[in-house]
Structure formats: structure tokens, C-alpha cells
């Protein structure tokens, strides 16, 4: 851990914002915006895994894609290895992008059905013009297939001939073939059966220890996040509500939303003594977020101040950030 601290960060994201224009009235000139990602800042060290957790619509996927500029962020700063990633364009952007890859959630939709497995995995190499000869490209594709546990004899097969777990391996092979230093994993195991899910999680961990890339691992599943992350960021309605080292977050969850999220997971054990916090109501619409603290409409701790004043994301000790007026006080209340 100390070694990591002394290194320069791989990625620094500052005040990242992504607004999507929402439909306005037919004649109205006033435009409304959906704040999908609102003021998100974090740093990522080389070889580190940052877990991003939250429910649907919290902006975690938009955040992941904005960091790679697959979606152009509205504002904010992204520093990749110290250089301003937001200002790059054309050939420079393409060059830096070769070090960043993404693995998508749906292994059925993210592979082109008309390309063979070999072509799919070779595509990043071809786009980046890595190798001039076909043989060399092929060798690297075969190597990537072996690394992720795909039999190279499937080189000429098509995606539909594979099961979900194997397709996800193809997606992973495509992501690692350029030997990137950052991979955004956007819900990579949510579409898989549990027995396959554990295989893919182990594979991702093994690849990280052998190839040394950093992950931004996005998932709605806290148990998966806990298994794979070094640090965890909890998002709600486009905001970061809590961020801390994994052990700290799970032993001392300080935001009421994090606590509710943890207690809501059904555990495979009987007669669990855990007290459940059941949140009332639904996620508010991001087009019309609540005033003050965005979570106050569903919060079991909410006081008057919460509906009027927005809590800052502040360090409550040892790099544990929490955005709540009553940080640390809710444990006493329990």
C-alpha cells in the first residue's frame, strides 16, 4: 500500500460533470438538464481497483464512460498520467486511448455478431496499427485468448456459438490485447450465472496481478465490489455520497445510504441477526433532484437541515469521505 502512495496517480478526475438535455416543452425556450454525473472527483493509482457502487440511474455507468470520453463530459478535468486528457484530440487522443479499455455488461450486445472471435479481439490492434504483419497480430490475439482461458481453436468461430461466460471472456481478451494500464469494467458479471460470475471475477483478479492494470469496477452488487476493490465509491443520483478504502467502508459505513444498501442485500444465511434498513419510496428523478441533500427524501436520519443545505463531501479521517450532515453520528443513533 505504501508503495502505491508514493507513486504518481494514474488518473485524476476533478469535478467531473455530465448533463444530458432533457425534453423541454414544445415552445418553451427553457431547457432542463438531467444531471447524470454531478461534481465527481477521485484519483486512481496504478494497479488499484476503485469499485463504484450504486443503484440504477445513479450515474455510475455515465461516470465510467465519461472518464474514457466515450461520452463527452460537460465539464471537469481528467488528468491521465499527468496530461490533460480532456484537451486531447485526433491522433493524440487515439494514442492515449490505447492504454484505456472498457468491458461492457452485456456480453450478448457488446460483440459484433458478424465478426469472428479472432477479428473481434484483433480489432483494437488493427485500429492502433500495432503490428504490420497479419501473423504478428494473430499471434498476439492467440496469446490474449490463452490468457483469458479461451481455446485458440475458437479463433474463427462467431460470438453466437458461445455461452455468456465465454463471451465475457472474449470481451476481456479484447480489452487486454493492447496491454492497457486502465480498464473500466462496467457491470462485467451482472449478466452471468453465479457459478460463471466467480470464474470471471477470479480471472479479472489474476489478470490484474499479472499485467498490473488499474480497474474502475462498476457494479450494483456490493458483495462483488467488496471482493474485487481496493477502494470503494458509493454513488447516489449522480453524486458521490461516500468514498473510502474497502476495509474502512465495510467496517464503518458512515452514510445512511451506504448503510441501507449494505443491509438490503439478501444474504445466503438463515435467521440472520442483521437489522434491516428498508428504505421507503423510489429513487427521485435526476431531472428534478431533491433540494439540499439529494438523499433526504428516503433517509431515515433526515432532519430539517437536510432539505435545505447540501452536505459537503468531507474527509472524516484517514481518507474516508462522506457527504452527510450527520456523518459518524448515525452509528450512535442505532
Amino acid at each position: 500500500m505504501n508503495e502505491k502512495m508514493s507513486q504518481a496517480p494514474l488518473l485524476e478526475v476533478k469535478h467531473l460533470r455530465k448533463l444530458f438535455p432533457a425534453k423541454s416543452g414544445f415552445l418553451s425556450k427553457e431547457k432542463t438538464f438531467i444531471k447524470a454525473v454531478d461534481d465527481v472527483s477521485f484519483t486512481l493509482m496504478p494497479r488499484e481497483t476503485l469499485g463504484v457502487v450504486g443503484e440504477s440511474g445513479c450515474g455510475k455507468s455515465t461516470m465510467g464512460r465519461s472518464v474514457l470520453r466515450l461520452i463527452q463530459p460537460t465539464s471537469g478535468e481528467i488528468l491521465y498520467k499527468g496530461q490533460d486528457f480532456m484537451k486531447l484530440s485526433g491522433a493524440d487522443l487515439r494514442r492515449v486511448r490505447s492504454e484505456m479499455q472498457i468491458i461492457f455488461q452485456d456480453p450478448y450486445a457488446s460483440l459484433n455478431p458478424r465478426m469472428t472471435v479472432g477479428e473481434i479481439i484483433a480489432e483494437p490492434l488493427n485500429i492502433q496499427k500495432k503490428y504490420s504483419s497479419k501473423e504478428e497480430t494473430r499471434d498476439h490475439v492467440v496469446k490474449a485468448m490463452e490468457v483469458v482461458g479461451l481455446n485458440p481453436k475458437y479463433y474463427t468461430r462467431y460470438p453466437h456459438e458461445f455461452s455468456g461466460g465465454q463471451r465475457q471472456r472474449i470481451g476481456i481478451a479484447r480489452a487486454i490485447v493492447l496491454e492497457p494500464s486502465l480498464i473500466v469494467c462496467d457491470e462485467p458479471v451482472s449478466a452471468l450465472d453465479v457459478s460463471i460470475q466467480s470464474q470471471v471475477l477470479n480471472l479479472l483478479k489474476d489478470l490484474q496481478s499479472s499485467m498490473g492494470m488499474a480497474y474502475i469496477f462498476i457494479s450494483h452488487n456490493l458483495s462483488v465490489i467488496k471482493h474485487i476493490s481496493d477502494r470503494v465509491m458509493v454513488m447516489y443520483l449522480g453524486h458521490v455520497v461516500e468514498m473510502a478504502k474497502k476495509t474502512e467502508l465495510f467496517s464503518n459505513p458512515s452514510h445512511p445510504y451506504t448503510q441501507a444498501l449494505m443491509s438490503a442485500i439478501p444474504l445466503p444465511e438463515r435467521h440472520s441477526k442483521r437489522k434491516k434498513i428498508i428504505l421507503q419510496g423510489d429513487l427521485p428523478s435526476p431531472a428534478n433532484p431533491p433540494s439540499g441533500c439529494i438523499f433526504h427524501t428516503r433517509c431515515f436520519m433526515a432532519q430539517e437541515i437536510c432539505s435545505t443545505q447540501k452536505p459537503e463531501l468531507k474527509d472524516i479521517g484517514g481518507g474516508h469521505y462522506c457527504a452527510c450532515h450527520f456523518c459518524g453520528k448515525c452509528q450512535q443513533g442505532e
Partner: protein, 330 residues
């Protein structure tokens, strides 16, 4: 043993496909006791959903075929019923909640029209009475502003709300059996917690028996009295919830329990895995369907399919708990 509301005996549901015959449900027997919840768990393709569709008489024939067995509900075999008779049972005595609340509601009818449809069909009510009952049901599943929601369309509701509407529709005729097919899989965890609490609460209140189909052992642990684990169209273990979570006996159940990451695990360790994947129906191994992935498989497992037999007070389909295992000692 309490009173059995549903008894499925040797059910076989097959599908005729271009690639050959798929034995989606292959000789499955179980029963649901009155007022109890039976959890059916397994991975995709294990036959858990087809089992429930067979009970409801919703398997499309062809390509499907009920190749054998009996489904005894309140003393009568549902498989011998005509379509008209089934229509009177479906929705009235047996109701079902599907996984996708987005696609199982009709987008061109209001919530109210869809709820009262079942009521008007099965009970002699005036429109006004049906409306009152419908709103009452929406209140029971804790939909805020029920009177207003009653006249709204599905797209105006969130996912969790739609699933509540589905539950209200399913329960409006006081069914004796409620089949829930992955009712919370499409929902967020905090909403899932609300829905599970609701299903448990309503079960207490109405005394309905529940069949809960899911791939999530966590959901099973919270709601099920009895648990049936399926693999490749067959029941591999059937036990009480307490038994199965205390000590899973079938190697597949055990593998399933161990491969989920848990919040209190030591996460520096690798996850334990079940190697390989579920065999496809045209490539079924000889012998036990699980043996290619089983860490304990012996020669005998590759030769014959073990019977579902009683062992330590529950039913398990594994040679490990038979006399033959001792004799085959390797």
C-alpha cells in the same frame, strides 16, 4: 407434514427443437404445503421457469410437450383440464408474478383496467365494486396515491411500482397459490428489499402458498420454508431452508453456496468456483449431469444417473450418500 396444496409428480416437459429434443423438465416431483413458501433455485436453463409455466399451463405446444406426469392441485390433475377450465383456475386459484414488470404489463391499458380485468372475469362484480376492490389492492401493496395511480398507464410508474402492481393483480382474487418467477431480479437492491418484505407480509396476511423461483440464494434464505435445487432439468436436492443453509449436501448446492462473494468473506482469497459450465441439452454427459463439473465425481457418477433418494432427513440426488459410494471407494 401439512396439507399439500400442490403436488407435482414425475413432470416431464420437453421441447422439440431443430437441434433435437430438449428435456427442459425431466422427471420433476415436489409438493407445496399450504401456507408455506417453496423456493426453487438454479442457474439459467435448469428448468425452474419451465416447471412453473407447466403448472400454469402456459407452455407453448408445440414446440413444447408435456411428455408425462401429473400436476395435482386441490385434488385434481391440471394436465387433464381443458383450456376453458384452466382459464378459470389461472388468475383465480393460481396466480403468477413474472420477472419483467416492464414487459408483463400491457402498455395501452391503465393500471386499473388491468387489475379489474381479472376481477371481472372471475367474480361477479359491478364495475364500481371492481374499481373499489382494485384500489383497495393497490393500497394493500402500499402504492401511494392509489386512486390516482389506478387511472395511470404502466410507463408512468417506476420499476418497483410496476412490480407492486403485478403483485396486486396476482393477489386480487385471493389465489391459493402464488408463483413468483424471479420477482426481484430486475429491481435494485433497496427496492428488492421492499418487495420481499411485501411478499412475506402478504403471505402472512392472506395465507397464500408461494412458489418462489430465483437464482439468488440470498432471496431464498429470506423467504423460503423449503428449498428445491434444480440442475439441468432435474431436482438435485430438496430440503428445508434451515437444512440447506446449515449444510448443503449435493456438491452442486455446495458449490453454488461457496461461489457467491459474501460481505463477511476473507476477500484476499480467490473465490471458489464451479469449473466448467452447465451442459447444453444436446450435449448431456452420460451418468450424473453434474459430474463433469463435480470435484468429487467417481467412475460410478459417469456411468449412471443417481436417484433422488432420502439421506439425513432430506432428498438428495448424489451417489455420495448411498451404499454404492462406499462400495465404489476409490
Amino acid at each position: 407434514m401439512g396439507e399439500k396444496i400442490l403436488e407435482v409428480k414425475h413432470l416431464k416437459t420437453y421441447f422439440h427443437t431443430d437441434a433435437g429434443l430438449s428435456r427442459a423438465v425431466n422427471d420433476v416431483s415436489f409438493s407445496v404445503e399450504k401456507g408455506k413458501t417453496l423456493g426453487i433455485v438454479g442457474e439459467s436453463g435448469c428448468g425452474k421457469s419451465i416447471t412453473s409455466l407447466s403448472i400454469m399451463g402456459l407452455v407453448e405446444i408445440p414446440p413444447g410437450e408435456i411428455a408425462g406426469g401429473e400436476i395435482i392441485f386441490e385434488g385434481e390433475d391440471l394436465l387433464k383440464k381443458s383450456e376453458d377450465e384452466m382459464n378459470k383456475i389461472r388468475g383465480k386459484k393460481i396466480a403468477m408474478i413474472f420477472q419483467e414488470p416492464m414487459t408483463s404489463l400491457n402498455p395501452v391499458f391503465t393500471i386499473g383496467q388491468q387489475i379489474t380485468e381479472a376481477l371481472m372475469l372471475h367474480e361477479t362484480l359491478t364495475k364500481k365494486q371492481a374499481r373499489e376492490r382494485g384500489i383497495e389492492m393497490l393500497k394493500m401493496v402500499k402504492i401511494p396515491l392509489a386512486e390516482k395511480r389506478f387511472d395511470e398507464y404502466p410507463h408512468q410508474l417506476s420499476g418497483g411500482m410496476r412490480q407492486r402492481v403485478m403483485i396486486a393483480m396476482a393477489l386480487c382474487c385471493n389465489p391459493d397459490l402464488l408463483i413468483c418467477d424471479e420477482p426481484t431480479t430486475a429491481l435494485d437492491v433497496t427496492i428488492q428489499a421492499q418487495i420481499l418484505e411485501l411478499i412475506n407480509e402478504l403471505k402472512e396476511k392472506t395465507g397464500t402458498s408461494v412458489m418462489m423461483i430465483t437464482h439468488d440464494l440470498g432471496v431464498i434464505a429470506e423467504v423460503a420454508d423449503d428449498v428445491m435445487v434444480m440442475y439441468a432439468g432435474k431436482v438435485v436436492e430438496h430440503a428445508t431452508g434451515d437444512q440447506i443453509f446449515e449444510k448443503p449436501m449435493h456438491p452442486y448446492t455446495e458449490g453454488l453456496m461457496h461461489c457467491i462473494p459474501k460481505l463477511d468473506d476473507d476477500d484476499t482469497q480467490r473465490l471458489s468456483v464451479i469449473e466448467g459450465m452447465v451442459p447444453s441439452f444436446d450435449d448431456m454427459p452420460a451418468g450424473c449431469a453434474f459430474c463433469p463439473r463435480c470435484p468429487e465425481a467417481r467412475q460410478i457418477c459417469r456411468e449412471r444417473m443417481p436417484e433422488l433418494a432420502e439421506a439425513q432427513g432430506r432428498m438428495v440426488r448424489c451417489f455420495k450418500y448411498t451404499q454404492e459410494w462406499e462400495e465404489s471407494g476409490e
